[in-house]
């Protein structure tokens, strides 16, 4: 194999994803997002290490915090890498050509590693690197080469292990199904980290007994490359050297394993042999009585049959609703205001997870909005009606369940529900617009129907408008809100949502479909 030639082609391909014809391209959003995440992670870790210093915490605590940061990055990488390898190995259009080329499987593996580098380096740059640098800035000690080895271990070990696991899995299950399952696992891992962070961090800073809190940090799993990488940086002397050796052994071992699996099985991997067969459903050729009915029937089928999207949605709806409980020990809220806050955070999820996905979920079939005689505006209206109907049901269920759990009367639940409706309307309006503007019709991961830039924008917009609604709720006091305010807020929310829908409709109407 002409390694230099292959590398050059891959380099040109990767470079053009970020910059082409003198202009930044879509890939640049990923870099911006990684830098912003790294900055946020750095600020959090600096604050955390300062807190530890003020509390006079032992060195062990620093090592544990570093270790858990590395572990979080490692888990994200392990699941993300498996997903990336599955996509790159079996779904990439060049696999058949590469399998037919006169190259050895381990050379093919090397090409695929080069290809996946930009897509797998994110957690290392955004989480592990800031953690290592913050730790060293606070504690000093580690040599630059040790940091490099630790970070390389965190990148190579999951990538190589993911490859070794993905290749046999690809011989057993259809690519699409495998990718969906791994995407769901990645979602759950991310949400687990988010949940732990959300519940633990505010309590850590609020508590007067930080040392006691820190003692509660669970010890690191002993047989993890993330632990060894943290120990290589944090432990002095012989123990640090042992951890460093373990890091190198883990990287080399994982690479050898991946290479061996590739050598034995990659050549026999035939794309398409485990294709999706399709599910038999009880369909009807009879159209619904109304256009709205047809859209609802179609949406129900699309949502309910895409179980990864559905489960991802349910997990996010639950977690967002529970978010206000996380800050309750820090800022006690009266029950009526707490329920309102929970519904507002629920509406963030409605906008971010349902609204933004409503149009990208249709992929390129959104072209029917332009091809069929109903027009883009009607299409958007039907989509909005569908997501609004679903959202109202979810919001009502959220209001009733939260109120019942807090022992509040039905009138308070209905009052909170009425307050949540305009918040949901604005969130869905923003969500639909962001989905129309920045949706990726070729999405493979249900979490990534928007590109990185779109996800960042959506999170920013949702959190901003959520903060505004929580502020309004707080300003209106601890009691149920009066009818005058509810009507005013509803009219305001509906007006904003209507303006956003009009812009969304124009966006969909003007979208062109040039083909291929």
């Amino acid at each position: 194999m002409n390694l230099a030639g292959v590398s050059r082609a891959r380099w040109i391909d990767a470079r053009r994803a970020f910059w082409r014809a003198g202009r930044p391209r879509r890939g640049i959003a990923g870099i911006v997002l990684a830098v912003m995440t790294a900055a946020a992670a750095s600020l959090t870790l600096i604050a955390l290490f300062d807190g530890l210093e003020r509390a006079g915490a032992p060195a062990e605590s620093y090592a544990r915090v570093l270790g858990w940061a590395f572990t979080f990055a490692f888990v994200l990488l392990a699941l993300g890498d498996l997903l990336t390898v599955v996509s790159a190995a079996a779904a990439a259009p060049d696999l058949e050509r590469l399998l037919a080329a006169p190259i050895r499987p381990r050379e093919l593996l090397l090409i695929k590693f080069m290809e996946t580098l930009p897509r797998t380096i994110g957690p290392v740059v955004a989480i592990a690197l800031p953690a290592a640098l913050c730790f060293v800035a606070e504690n000093g000690g580690a040599h630059a080469s040790v940091i490099v080895v630790a970070l390389v271990t965190l990148w190579t070990a999951p990538l190589a292990l993911g490859t070794a696991l993905a290749i046999p899995l690809l011989r057993m299950a259809p690519v699409a199904r495998l990718r969906e399952s791994i995407a769901l696992l990645a979602t759950l891992a991310f949400l687990g980290g988010w949940l732990a962070n959300t519940f633990w961090m505010p309590r850590l800073f609020a508590s007067t007994d930080v040392a006691a809190r820190l003692r509660a940090i669970p010890p690191l799993p002993p047989w993890s490359p993330a632990t060894w990488a943290a120990d290589a940086l944090a432990r002095p002397g012989e123990r640090g050297l042992e951890a460093l050796a373990a890091c190198i052994a883990a990287s080399v071992g994982a690479l050898v394993l991946a290479s061996g699996v590739a050598e034995r099985m990659l050549a026999r991997l035939q794309p398409g042999t485990t294709a999706v067969i399709g599910t038999t459903v009880r369909g009807t050729a009879r159209r619904a009585a109304t256009l709205t009915g047809a859209f609802l029937r179609r949406d129900m089928a699309l949502f309910s049959r895409d179980w990864t999207v559905l489960l991802d949605l349910v997990a996010r709806l639950l977690l967002w609703t529970l978010l206000p409980l996380a800050v309750l020990p820090l800022t006690p809220l009266p029950p009526a205001e707490l329920v309102r806050s929970m519904l507002v955070t629920l509406t963030l999820s409605l906008g971010n997870d349902i609204g933004t996905r409503a149009l990208p979920l249709e992929r390129r079939s959104l072209a029917w909005a332009r091809l069929s005689p109903i027009g883009g505006a009607r299409w958007v209206l039907e989509r909005a009606l569908g997501v609004a109907g679903l959202s109202v049901v979810i919001l009502l269920a959220g209001a009733l369940i939260a109120s019942a759990a807090l022992g509040l009367p039905l009138s308070v639940a209905m009052n909170a529900f009425a307050f949540g409706l305009p918040a949901a309307a604005t969130a869905l309006g923003f969500g639909l617009l962001i989905g129309a503007l920045l949706g990726d019709p070729d999405w493979r991961d249900p979490r990534a129907m928007l590109g990185p830039g779109g996800r960042a924008l959506s999170a920013f917009v949702m959190l901003s408008q959520g903060a505004a609604w929580v502020g309004v709720s707080h300003a209106l006091g601890p009691r149920p809100i009066g009818p005058g305010w509810l009507v005013t807020l509803s009219l305001g929310g509906v007006f904003v949502a209507w303006v956003l829908l009009v812009i969304t409709a124009r966006t969909v109407e003007r979208r062109e479909y040039a083909g291929r």
């Binding site: 399709g278 009585a289 049959r305 005689p373 109903i374």
Partner: protein, 247 residues
């Protein structure tokens, strides 16, 4: 299907640019009722752009398009109701079955429920999809997807059918069936504009042929016209002479 004297498609001086590139330049053509017109040209000649402009998926920079008497710009809904498109890559919903998909398309075109159901079943049967019609489309082969797209385009029996490389992925019996369907459509008074790279198909199927080169029509007419009195010349000879390679 088409009102007497009404032409299913009239394109007048269509121009479409993508940045600095002019994909289609002052292109004019028409498809008459009962006629199958072949649309030929090398890769990048502007066939797909023309078909997408004619179906409303792309907006022209200049020129006008009339579909069965309705101006696509001024009366887009009327015009779109009168055409059916089979694109090069079908617009399908993977998680719907073919039967559900056709029911949804029937609602988009506001077809009466009973008539639409009967027509859908008839098309599914003719295209050999009936026994797969309750399976989700994600499991379909390329040919089955293409057949589903053809059924969707024919469902509302439009006066104008636009097809972009419709034989892609079809096996010989399915290709034969499609050609029969197109002839039937034309016999019933509809018009068909079909782009293809298969010159022998164009030669045997089409009443007229339009050859495109660099976004412009370089030749058009019946095969006899294009041969210019030289009976020994095939369409391939004519095509290579007029539209073969892009400049």
């Amino acid at each position: 299907m088409t009102a007497p004297g009404e032409r299913p498609l009239v394109i007048d001086a269509l121009t479409r640019r993508f940045g600095a590139v002019t994909a289609v330049s002052a292109l004019s053509l028409e498809v008459r009722a009962g006629e199958i017109v072949g649309f030929l040209g090398a890769n990048g000649a502007g066939k797909t752009t023309t078909l997408r402009c004619a179906s409303g998926l792309l907006a022209p920079d200049d020129g006008s398009i009339q579909v069965a008497g309705a101006d696509l710009e001024r009366e887009p809904r009327v015009a779109k109701a009168r055409l059916g498109l089979v694109p090069d890559r079908p617009f399908l919903y993977d998680r719907l079955s073919a039967r559900e998909f056709l029911a949804f398309i029937a609602a988009l075109y506001d077809l009466p429920a009973d008539a639409a159901a009967r027509r859908a079943e008839e098309l599914l049967a003719r295209l050999g999809l009936k026994e797969h019609a309750d399976r989700t489309i994600e499991g379909y082969s390329l040919g089955m997807r293409q057949k589903t797209a053809i059924a969707a385009a024919l469902l509302h029996s439009p006066p104008l059918l636009l097809l972009d490389e419709p034989l892609n992925g079809l096996d010989p019996p399915a290709a034969r069936l499609l050609k029969d369907l197109l002839r039937e459509h034309a016999r019933a008074g509809g018009g068909v504009l079909v782009s293809t790279h298969l010159l022998d198909v164009a030669e045997r199927l089409c009443d007229r042929v339009v050859i495109l080169r660099a976004g412009r029509v370089v030749a058009g007419g019946t095969l006899e016209d294009l041969r210019g009195g030289h009976q020994e010349r095939s369409l391939e000879d004519v095509f290579m002479e007029l539209g073969g390679a892009e400049p």
